[in-house]
């Protein structure tokens, strides 16, 4: 055989991304030089993407335990108890590199992969959310002084990514119910596509990926194996991009959502037969990772006969078969003697289910092909004994955020024009153009879809409960101050979930960073992990899993450190789910402020607020500034606000709730107007909080632990009582009207515009950018 004749050399190992030390370790484990197939297997399993070799030492600092946690990190997805015998399986994962090389298929297969992670647990997927980051798509602002060819390319990437997510989710039949989108120049060469999937299962129906029972058959199910996606995990996802990255298109997989829908139905039906012992999806590193990980978790071995693997191309070598990342495939272990029942179910759905191997007692991954042994490696060595690196950390040599700060507008300025520009800014503007391409209602559980609430809300049929879900993460803040930015991501996600009336219940995280071999990037990573750990501990939110994506660099330029937090919330009473839209003319509008009553921070100074506002979306949108420092996160204040919001929604006192975040209070109030069914507007009167405060701080500042709520005027006394009880500041700041949208600050009208004009600007901006 040609392939077996290939002599493995240290140079070849280096081409596979293995360092000299790693290669030496391979030889030590095997007691000999590896075959080419074995080299391929080691290179993918020990890749950064599969082994977490740079992140492992830090990830252990995350809090993962809580009474509701059934399965923490380490399985296909995390699982939490949600009561009434049900549990929720959920996880977020990145598909950044493929989405840059081939936006449509990259994003589509990202969705496909995370869906498989959820339904291999035995859970039927009920929702998908996506966190997306792109380079600037408009050149109109000072912020986006990017050349036209760059913005055009970024629009092309956005268009392809959204199309790919829609293509996959819509056909598969899972609603895409939410997400977030942000833009910054650092994502031009490295967009982020993080997909989160949520599924529901009865507790006794959960499945795990632990092979058991010597002699049990190993079945391959789903699509046939082709040559696509070879080295997707090792060479695409575990290295920086260079000018030649487009040549990596063959490393991107191609998705078939119809096949995955069949696979879903067949898997759930086959699981019901009781004949399946363990199951795992073939994602990154395909047949290699499923076989050695299932064997390793179960403390057994697996022997595969590659001649039996269904193939869509001829002449495939063991190397290619073991490394292929063809989509829509699963590997499962069945009970010996009952494999026929499993095969029958798959046949009904028109899918291959073929016995390709068996469970052994020797702990080895053995790969046979044409009467030869192509690989024989201890499964544990591949899955659990990858090198672990304590990479060096160093804060950036020059402190960030030192650049020019935002210049305040002169005191008497009418801020209406600035406000209009902010509303048209892609990160703030309505995302309808995006989410209208997603089926966000299929399965008829969507109580709050995209844009309707601070988090998506899904009812759980046959119960009175509902789940809330959101994704958040501010890369700019994490770049300026990684730990603070990460704390803010957790706090915002938790606040969003509380705004719809749900108790934050568990979290999943997707950690998107640059090259971990750069000490600066590793420092950012470590700081962000600490920030997440602090905030999750303070707010009692366990992390149940997630994903690390390193090497988000193009031509040496790293992305902003971008941890994305997905927080799941639980509502005991689905009928209490609260939206962000104002409901009735004449309702009173309140600002809830967790820090107002027991502020630990000293009085704000104008220098502080200038630095703070310089880190805001407003500063970036209007002046192209990303500087200063993000607002300090007061976790105790966040906790107080969350508890108050939960108490108020449980009592049914509120008509709307919306947290203050990107774009500040003015955008928050405006969004509650825009979402209202019959064109409601608002009049807001703000006092100057201290003599140094500027109007722009009051309107556009993004300090956390705050929410805008509305309620009937006669609920005031009850609201005041609850706010006092929970130690949260409560300030009546205006009312819901049918007049012009007006904000008065310090006795002066600073924004005054027909609400329609604001709404049209906000609603039409993204669509006109994307379709012009």
């Amino acid at each position: 055989m040609l392939e077996t004749e290939i002599k493995v050399t240290p140079e070849l190992a280096a081409e596979h991304g293995l360092s000299a030390e790693e290669y030496a370790r391979v030889i030590k484990i095997l007691g000999r030089e590896p075959s080419i197939t074995e080299l391929g297997i080691f290179s993918v399993m020990w890749s950064e993407h599969c082994s977490y070799k740079s992140s492992r030492v830090h990830l252990c600092r995350l809090p993962t335990k809580a009474p509701q946690v059934i399965q923490g990190p380490g399985e296909n997805a995390g699982v939490v108890d949600i009561g009434e015998g049900l549990c929720a399986a959920f996880k977020i994962e990145s598909h950044n590199h493929p989405s840059y090389v081939e936006p449509f298929q990259g994003a589509a297969t990202g969705v496909g992969g995370i869906l498989r992670d959820v339904f291999t647990m035995g859970a039927r997927p009920i929702a998908v959310l996506d966190a997306l980051r792109f380079g600037p798509i408009n050149g109109a602002s000072a912020a986006a002084a990017s050349p036209a060819n760059i913005t055009a390319k970024n629009r092309h990437i956005l268009d392809g990514v959204v199309g790919g997510i829609a293509f996959y989710g819509n056909c598969f039949g899972v609603p895409t119910v939410g997400g977030d989108v942000a833009f910054a120049p650092c994502y031009s060469g490295n967009p982020l596509v993080n997909a989160l999937a949520l599924g529901i299962a009865r507790r006794e129906e959960l499945f795990f990926a632990r092979a058991r029972g010597t002699g049990n058959p190993v079945l391959y199910v789903g699509a046939k194996t082709g040559r696509d996606g070879i080295h997707g995990a090792s060479l695409l996802a575990s290295a920086e991009f260079t000018e030649q990255s487009q040549q990596k298109r063959p490393n991107v997989q191609v998705g078939d959502p119809f096949l995955e829908k069949l696979l879903l139905e067949a898997c759930l039906e086959a699981m019901h037969t009781g004949a399946i012992v363990a199951i795992q999806d073939m994602g990154a590193a395909g047949l290699t990772s499923t076989s050695c990980e299932m064997a390793s978790r179960g403390g057994v071995g697996i022997e595969l006969n590659l001649d039996l693997v269904p193939q869509r191309e001829t002449g495939m070598t063991p190397y290619e078969m073991m490394l292929s990342e063809s989509q829509e495939r699963m590997l499962l272990v069945a009970q010996r003697g009952r494999e026929g029942e499993v095969i029958e179910v798959f046949a009904k759905w028109g899918l291959d289910a073929v016995e390709v191997g068996r469970v052994t007692a020797d702990g080895l991954l053995r790969v046979n092909w044409q009467e030869e042994t192509a690989a024989e490696i201890p499964a544990k060595a591949l899955a659990e004994e990858a090198p672990v690196y304590q990479r060096s950390l160093a804060p950036p040599s020059s402190a960030r955020g030192k650049g020019p700060l935002l210049q305040f507008a002169p005191d008497e300025t009418d801020l209406t024009e600035n406000f209009l520009r902010l509303l048209a800014w892609p990160a703030i503007a309505s995302k309808r153009w995006i989410f209208e391409q997603y089926d966000f209602m299929v399965r008829t559980n969507t109580l709050e879809g995209p844009g309707a609430g601070d988090a998506a809300v899904l009812r759980i049929k046959e119960t009175s409960r509902a789940l809330a879900l959101t994704v958040d993460g501010n890369g700019r803040w994490c770049w300026l101050a990684p730990r603070e930015g990460a704390r803010a991501a957790v706090a915002e996600a938790a606040r969003n979930v509380a705004c719809v009336g749900a108790r934050p219940w568990a979290a999943t995280n997707c950690l998107n960073f640059g090259n971990p071999e750069k000490p600066e990037v590793m420092w950012e990573f470590s700081e962000c992990v600490d920030g997440i750990a602090e905030a999750c501990s303070a707010l009692n939110i366990p992390i149940t899993g997630g994903n690390v994506s390193f090497y988000n660099d193009t031509l040496g330029q790293s992305i902003y450190p971008t941890p994305v937090l997905g927080v799941l919330g639980l509502l005991q009473d689905a009928s209490r789910a609260l939206g962000l839209a104002f409901r009735n003319e004449g309702d009173t509008i309140f600002l809830l402020d967790g820090s107002a009553e027991q502020s630990s921070a000293g009085p704000a100074s104008s220098a502080n607020s200038q630095r703070e506002l310089s880190s805001s979306e407003y500063a970036f949108a209007l002046q192209g500034i990303a500087a200063g420092a993000p607002p300090t996160v007061d976790l105790a204040a966040e906790q107080r606000l969350i508890e108050l919001l939960l108490a108020l929604t449980a009592k049914g006192l509120l008509h709307s709730a919306h947290d203050v975040s990107d774009g500040g209070l003015a955008v928050t109030v405006a969004e509650s107007c825009f979402a209202s069914k019959d064109g409601l507007s608002a009049e807001i009167i703000l006092a100057q909080s201290d003599p140094t405060e500027k109007a722009e701080i009051a309107l556009f500042g993004e300090r956390g632990a705050r929410a805008i709520v509305s309620c009937a005027p006669d609920a005031l006394a009850a609201l005041r009582e609850s706010a006092r009880q929970y130690g949260v500041g409560l300030q009546a700041i205006g009312r819901v009207t049918r007049n012009a949208f007006r904000i008065q600050w310090n006795g002066r009208t600073v924004i005054d515009s027909p609400c329609d004009r604001l709404r049209d600007t906000w609603a039409g901006s993204l669509k006109s950018l994307m379709t012009s």
Binding site: G173, D256, K261, E436, M441, V442, R443, T444, L447
Partner: protein
């Protein structure tokens, strides 16, 4: 009275239709696998939304050859009620059980949003419980819902009062902005001449519970129930009392 919901490989609104019939209306309902020739004794058949056979080749082009479709055609000829929703409507067109065809949406993108449709005739088993001119709010979710037919077919549809729903504004006016996909004459749903087969692009099963935003779509299922129970009482099996129905 019994409903049957056909399941093709790739159907994904089958559970949603089942849920409404079973849990909201409290009527008996059964899934029917596409390879079955047996319609399980159902009095009304629903072809649900989704992506039957992945929409490969051409939407509905493969589904129409599923064994179940022979039985559905026979059932239709005998006056049985058939409701095609979204992909189900597309399959009915492809099978020739309803006239016309679907084009890509004007704008060439998948669109998911609530729309408003006006009841153009109550003289069908699917709208007999609605009021003429009543406007229903129900969502669409499709990329090919741009209904098209040639001029003679359109004249036929008009003459025989086969246009069941049109896209309108919430207050029942027709205009370009209210037509979400560019459909000819704002057509959202049609029936056959015999009036026992209806297809529509909006999803009434997603608009049958107020907590989901609208319960307007329920009237379509209620009409079927009302029509079937009246037929049961009178022992009649014709789909329509007017002479037009006899021109088979």
């Amino acid at each position: 009275m019994k409903f049957g919901v056909v399941v093709f490989p790739g159907s994904n609104c089958d559970d949603d239709s089942y849920h409404v019939i079973n849990k909201v209306l409290g009527q008996p309902v059964e899934f029917i696998w596409h390879q079955s020739a047996d319609l399980a004794g159902a009095d009304a058949i629903i072809l649900p939304g989704g992506f039957a056979f992945g929409d490969y080749l051409r939407i509905g082009a493969i589904a129409r050859f599923s064994p179940v479709m022979r039985s559905v055609e026979k059932f239709a000829k005998s006056g049985g009620l058939i409701l095609g929703i979204c992909n189900g409507f597309q399959i009915l067109l492809e099978a020739g059980l309803l006239p016309g065809a679907m084009l890509r949406n004007a704008g060439l993108r998948f669109r998911c949003l609530p729309v408003y449709i006006r009841v153009e005739t109550t003289d069908t088993p699917f709208t007999c419980a609605a009021k003429l001119g009543q406007v229903l709010e129900a969502p669409i979710a499709h990329s090919e819902g741009n209904y098209f037919c040639d001029a003679p077919t359109y004249a036929d549809l008009e003459r025989n009062n086969q246009i069941v729903f049109r896209y309108t504004t919430p207050d029942g006016r027709e205009n370009a902005a209210a037509n979400p996909n560019g459909s000819l004459a704002a057509i959202a749903g049609i029936c056959n001449r015999e009036r026992n087969i209806m297809g529509l692009m909006p999803h009434p099963e997603r608009a049958s519970e107020i907590e989901l935003g609208s319960a307007d779509g329920l009237v379509i299922f209620q009409s079927i129930v009302q029509w079937l129970s009246r037929r049961g009482e009178s022992g009649q099996h014709e789909t329509r009392t007017e002479p037009a129905a006899l021109r088979v």
